[in-house]
């Protein structure tokens, strides 16, 4: 059978975000692929240089709708360190609660989307129904469902009342029960095992070599978790474990994610029960002194790094956002070769790509699994001239 070029995206039902894959397939097998991620580039980093700290936080939240708290916390954390102010413990705990709720909602969302990608709509519906409980909690605490806007330089914007804490605690048992059910489903549901097992496998060495982060790395057996390595917020206090798995395939990544939901539930429960009393913010100066910091944060998708340089004014000189998805793209391109056409969405989704975070392009690779050699110009041109009918 001759090779066919399948252009997936930028508008495609499997992709909730604009990205373009050009897949050269031989029948149902992928020979090589070309990824193009620049549809989402907005220039947030440029905009961040032109706004003061107060206005940068909402902007950075809108880098990505799913991990909005991650971006603003990473930035606020960095600026606070440059300003050398210590936020009160209550603020630290509230930030942790929101961060872990965000991780829960993100992982539940991912589980649903992964199920949808293999056509298992029932699990999709169920996880999203349970996700609404998390969303309700966040909405009660912050007033928003998606962009929480909880952070300020020097603390958090609003306090948690005892009623909110109790309401959140009341929701947890039900959620724990449902998550246990999903753990069972992920481990024993037959069609999911068929589709997830052995797909997109990354060995530990490959995962290290291609610099994977987050659940992708942890599924390959690397205990790389910024929350443990470089504890921030309340992670040093709360009892929790780094979850790892040795499978390294999509199945392993799924297992890591559902187990991480369980760990997040433990952290949230601990933080809610041991919420310290006191102020929720300290006054922060308007200008930050000259300095630079690499602020690391474990977003739901992996390690998020904000490199912040300040220059003594109320604006940053440069904020460089390295999103977890960008770090994982190289490994995705490696995983995809010689896989089945039907597995593309699953493999790509397995790193939980957050393209609006990433908004960048990556590489193409060929059959020999040699890293990143690209020769797709000619192909794209030929393809475009032949069939512009991309959906």
């Amino acid at each position: 059978m001759p090779e066919v070029v399948v252009s997936i995206g930028p508008h495609h039902p499997a992709l909730k975000e604009p990205v373009n894959f050009k897949i050269i397939a031989d029948g149902e097998k992928i020979v090589r692929l070309e990824l193009d991620l620049s549809y989402n580039h907005r220039g947030v980093e440029k905009a961040a240089e032109q706004r003061d700290f107060i206005r940068v936080l909402p902007l950075l939240e809108r880098v990505c709708g799913i991990c909005s708290h991650s971006h603003s916390t990473a930035f606020a954390q960095g600026i606070e360190e440059i300003m050398q102010i210590e936020i009160p413990p209550r603020a630290r705990y509230i930030r942790t609660i929101i961060a872990e709720l965000e991780r829960m909602h993100s992982h539940l969302l991912w589980l649903g989307v992964a199920a949808h990608l293999i056509g298992f709509n029932t699990l999709f519906m169920w996880t999203w129904r349970d996700r609404e409980a998390v969303q309700d909690t966040v909405e009660e605490m912050s007033g928003n469902r998606v962009h929480y806007n909880m952070n300020e330089i020097g603390g958090v914007r609003c306090d948690l009342t005892p009623a909110q804490v109790n309401a959140a605690l009341a929701r947890l048992p039900n959620l724990e029960e449902r998550v246990n059910k999903y753990v069972d489903m992920v481990n024993y549901e037959e069609t999911m095992l068929l589709r997830f097992r052995g797909v997109g496998r990354l060995s530990k060495e490959e995962a290290l070599r291609y610099g994977t982060v987050g659940p992708t790395a942890r599924a390959s057996g690397i205990d790389y978790d910024t929350r443990k390595d470089d504890p921030y917020l309340a992670y040093a206090d709360a009892p929790w474990n780094v979850v790892t798995d040795t499978n390294g395939d999509v199945y392993g990544r799924t297992r890591v994610r559902v187990w991480e939901i369980q760990e997040s539930l433990r952290i949230v429960r601990y933080c809610l029960e041991n919420l310290p009393e006191g102020a929720i913010r300290v006054p922060a100066p308007k200008n930050a002194p000259k300095g630079e910091i690499l602020s690391r944060y474990e977003a739901p998708r992996g390690e998020l790094a904000h490199f912040i340089r300040t220059n003594g004014t109320d604006r940053v000189e440069r904020v460089d956002i390295r999103t977890p998805t960008l770090a994982n793209w190289t490994s995705v391109a490696m995983c995809l070769v010689n896989q089945n056409l039907a597995d593309i969405p699953v493999i790509v989704a397995a790193i939980d790509p957050c393209l609006s975070c990433t908004s960048r392009i990556t590489l193409v690779e060929n059959q020999t699994k040699k890293a990143g050699v690209i020769s797709f110009d000619e192909l794209i041109r030929r393809y475009r001239s032949r069939n512009p009918e991309e959906v």
Binding site: D229, T362, G372
Partner: protein, 159 residues
């Protein structure tokens, strides 16, 4: 390496490459020159096990362009290797051959700052759209959009 890895031992070793300073509890910053970056990374990789590239940050401080390579390893110490480049015709040897994830970061910096990474096999446009003018780098401080230039989108049909 025998014994626990300390920042002092790294700083000691880094003396031959440039000035090093401790930035935080487990962070170290090494300032070096562009031609030594490759060797520095190779050295920290081989001697101290810094096998993970967190990111390459680029900063335009209006005089020069700075590149900062952040690396870490199983010991979770972060080393930041900083270099400065001139603003016109900046070029830099790639580290793609020793750290494959660097390819993506280098392409992105090339797009936004115009730094050419010599030796990277795929120094093509990645971040900006296909109609973007070739020699405009939006994240440089002195860049301003030119009202007469077409930057992409839909031509002549903006209402």
């Amino acid at each position: 390496m025998t014994g626990p890895l300390t920042l002092e031992s790294i700083a000691e070793k880094m003396k031959e490459f440039g000035v090093s300073e401790q930035a935080r509890k487990n962070r170290i910053r090494v300032t070096t020159t562009p031609d030594k970056v490759h060797d520095t990374i190779r050295t920290v990789q081989a001697m101290f096990g810094f096998d993970r590239l967190i990111t390459i940050s680029a900063v335009d401080n209006t005089r020069t362009l700075e590149l900062i390579y952040h690396l870490t390893g199983p010991h979770r110490i972060i080393v930041s290797i900083a270099v400065e480049l001139e603003r016109d015709q900046p070029a830099m040897p790639t580290i793609f051959d020793i750290l494959p994830p660097a390819g993506i970061y280098e392409r992105q910096i090339h797009d936004l700052f115009g730094i050419v990474f010599t030796g990277n096999p795929n120094m093509k446009r990645i971040m900006l759209n296909e109609d973007w003018p070739a020699d405009e780098y939006p994240l440089r401080k002195d860049w301003k959009p030119d009202p007469d230039t077409f930057y992409g989108g839909i031509k002549g049909e903006r209402s």
